[in-house]
């Protein structure tokens, strides 16, 4: 059985009396340590798909199996634990808490995780060093550039040593150089830490750097 198996997954939204299809009967298998990119137009269902994989959205039908466990059947607490321990999220906007410093933002997922043995303070410092902003530990998001904020978000996604990083257009509003640097970080994390990465992007060039490239149209996967 594959590491992550998606089976006949569908999600429909009902707004007023209209129904919209976000994800339409998708099946997909992803191996541990794989770097997968998904491209597609706005509204094609990419964000819905990663949200279903990340357990922040419940499917209308189908299953998401991580190492054989269907996360769609988990209750809210178990699903939160699944996100805290196995998933690292990166969003398409600056998602740092403005009241916390870079180091505190990285430490944030730690207070939601039952693992109290790890010295998170040291891990956070090492992670920020790794993403190249070790000197900005005590800077607030407002004191960081867009690229630096993304690096903090990457470090935060890695704090709990997740199996999968779900990155939803993480370089959307960055300049080309910074975009390349962030992509390079993802490649390194994938290679050195063996973390499975599912990257959503509009940018075909960036998507091309992944081991596997998928395209979504109208909620369906095409061009595997």
């Amino acid at each position: 059985m594959s590491f992550l198996h998606i089976e006949n997954l569908s999600k429909t939204y009902t707004v007023d009396d209209s129904t919209f299809v976000g994800v339409d009967n998708i099946s997909l298998s992803i191996n541990r340590g794989e770097f997968l990119s998904i491209v597609g137009h706005s509204g094609s269902g990419k964000t819905t798909l990663v949200s279903l994989i990340g357990g922040i959205l419940k499917p209308t039908a189908g299953r998401v199996l991580l190492e054989g466990v269907d996360i769609c059947t988990l209750d809210d607490d178990k699903l939160s634990e699944y996100r805290a321990q196995r998933i690292g999220f990166m969003f398409q906007f600056a998602s740092l808490l403005p009241i916390l410093t870079a180091r505190e933002n990285v430490l944030l997922p730690g207070i939601f995780s039952p693992d109290t043995k790890t010295d998170n303070a040291k891990v956070a410092r090492d992670l920020l060093e790794m993403v190249g902003i070790g000197e900005k530990l005590d800077s607030y998001p407002s004191q960081l550039s867009g690229g630096q904020q993304r690096r903090v978000a990457i470090a935060r996604a890695l704090l709990n040593n997740p199996d999968i990083i779900l990155a939803d257009e993480p370089t959307g509003d960055l300049d080309e150089d910074t975009e390349a640097e962030i992509m390079h970080l993802f490649e390194e994390i994938n290679k050195k830490k063996g973390v499975t990465i599912i990257l959503i992007t509009h940018n075909l060039e960036l998507a091309g750097k992944a081991q596997k490239k998928l395209r979504m149209t109208k909620g369906q996967l095409v061009g595997i």
Partner: protein, 397 residues
């Protein structure tokens, strides 16, 4: 800070909008100070009345018919009043079934003028042979009985008489008295009187300068035999002796208690209105916070926060606000009560005061209610916050 916790995140959240936090703390502090003042006032008056009637130690108080109000004014409010009945009433009272022991007092007001060289003062003459009210106080303060030509001041009188200097001499109705000391504070209206034995009073009467006539007394205090109901014996007394009115211990200060009940209604209404307003304010501010921080909450949920984590985070904020506001309110309310005590004749007249235990209990009630109102106001928005769909609030961005 190298580590973070729910507490540190909650504190940082409170610090991010200090004005808003300040407004909430101020509102809660206002409510709690009002509550503390209202409770302090009520408890102070009620317990002072209870304490006063207990200190007097009598089951029944017998006064001339129509003088019940004056007696209460004298015993509880320290008002200068005079009321008299014939000494022969004592014999009639003695015959009533259930009466165990009795003693009587005669009250007289000194006057300004050539006959008296002290400020107008209430004079209480008692019979040392039968007395069970003044004697124990005297024993405690002086350690011996009063002699002829001696008087002792109540705790509230000494200042008026200039008794910072003890052993002064005073002329009262042409009789020289040595004021040998002052009694401890008793919390009754008698604190504002000057005490002497009946023997001294007889000399005053003989001087012819006082309005009092020989053979007149003001009040009879009685203790009942075990098993006799004060109300029942009181009714019998009033039936058998039409010249007297009787006040049972439980009925002392009824006038005050009726006034207090009315004041309580006003306090209750004001406090309930203030509570509703504060709850509404907390609800409105936390609803605004819920909207303002919805994206952050969505992010935290995506990072693995459970619903209970979100509740915990906001509950800490609410508790800190509630406790801080309540502590300030308790301090302000206590200070206000002490400050305004002198402005309320009801409090001033009955020597009302709270024990440390009572003050602590009232402070705890204030802390609890202030914090509970804060939590109650915030619960609905917090419940809404925790139920937010992470993706929907993140996508709203």
């Amino acid at each position: 800070m190298a580590k973070i916790s729910f507490f540190s995140v909650a504190f940082k959240n409170l610090k991010r909008k200090t004005f808003r936090t300040g407004v909430l703390v101020f509102a809660i502090a206002l409510l709690v100070s009002l509550l503390i003042f209202a409770i302090s006032f009520t408890v102070s008056v009620a317990s002072s009345l209870k304490k006063s009637s207990q200190r007097l130690g009598a089951d029944l108080v017998v006064v001339p018919v129509g003088a019940r109000g004056f007696a209460e004014e004298f015993l509880l409010e320290s008002k200068n009043t005079s009321f008299y009945m014939p000494f022969s009433i004592i014999e009639k009272v003695k015959k009533i079934e259930g009466i165990d022991t009795m003693t009587h007092h005669t009250y007289l007001s000194s006057i300004s003028g050539l006959c008296c060289d002290i400020v107008p003062t209430r004079i209480v003459a008692f019979n040392p042979a039968t007395d069970f009210i003044i004697n124990p106080w005297l024993q405690k303060s002086l350690g011996r009985p009063l002699q002829l030509g001696e008087a002792i001041a109540g705790a509230g009188t000494s200042e008026n008489l200039g008794l910072g200097l003890l052993d002064i001499e005073a002329t009262i109705f042409d009789n020289r008295f040595k004021i040998v000391g002052e009694l401890e504070k008793t919390g009754t209206g008698l604190d504002h009187a000057l005490f002497m034995t009946e023997e001294n009073l007889n000399n005053i009467i003989e001087s012819g300068k006082s309005p009092l006539k020989k053979g007149e007394i003001s009040i009879i205090f009685t203790k009942l035999k075990k098993g006799f109901d004060p109300d029942f014996v009181g009714r019998v007394l009033e039936g058998e002796i039409p010249e007297v009115d009787v006040v049972a211990r439980s009925g002392m200060g009824e006038k005050f208690l009726n006034t207090l009940a009315d004041i309580n209604k006003i306090f209750l209404l004001t406090t309930v209105l203030a509570s509703v307003l504060t709850t509404f304010l907390v609800w409105a501010i936390f609803s605004a916070i819920a909207n303002e921080r919805s994206k952050e909450i969505g992010i935290m949920r995506a990072l693995g926060a459970k619903e209970s984590h979100i509740v915990k985070l906001y509950l800490i904020e609410v508790l800190v606000l509630g406790l801080l506001g309540s502590i300030i309110g308790v301090l302000a309310g206590t200070y206000l009560s002490a400050l305004l005590a002198g402005s309320f004749s009801l409090l001033k007249n009955i020597s009302a005061g709270l024990t440390v235990g009572q003050q602590a209990a009232i402070a705890l009630v204030g802390l609890f209610i202030g914090t509970a109102i804060c939590v109650a106001g915030a619960m609905m928005p917090i419940n809404r916050i925790k139920k937010m769909e992470p993706l929907l609030v993140i996508k709203e961005e």
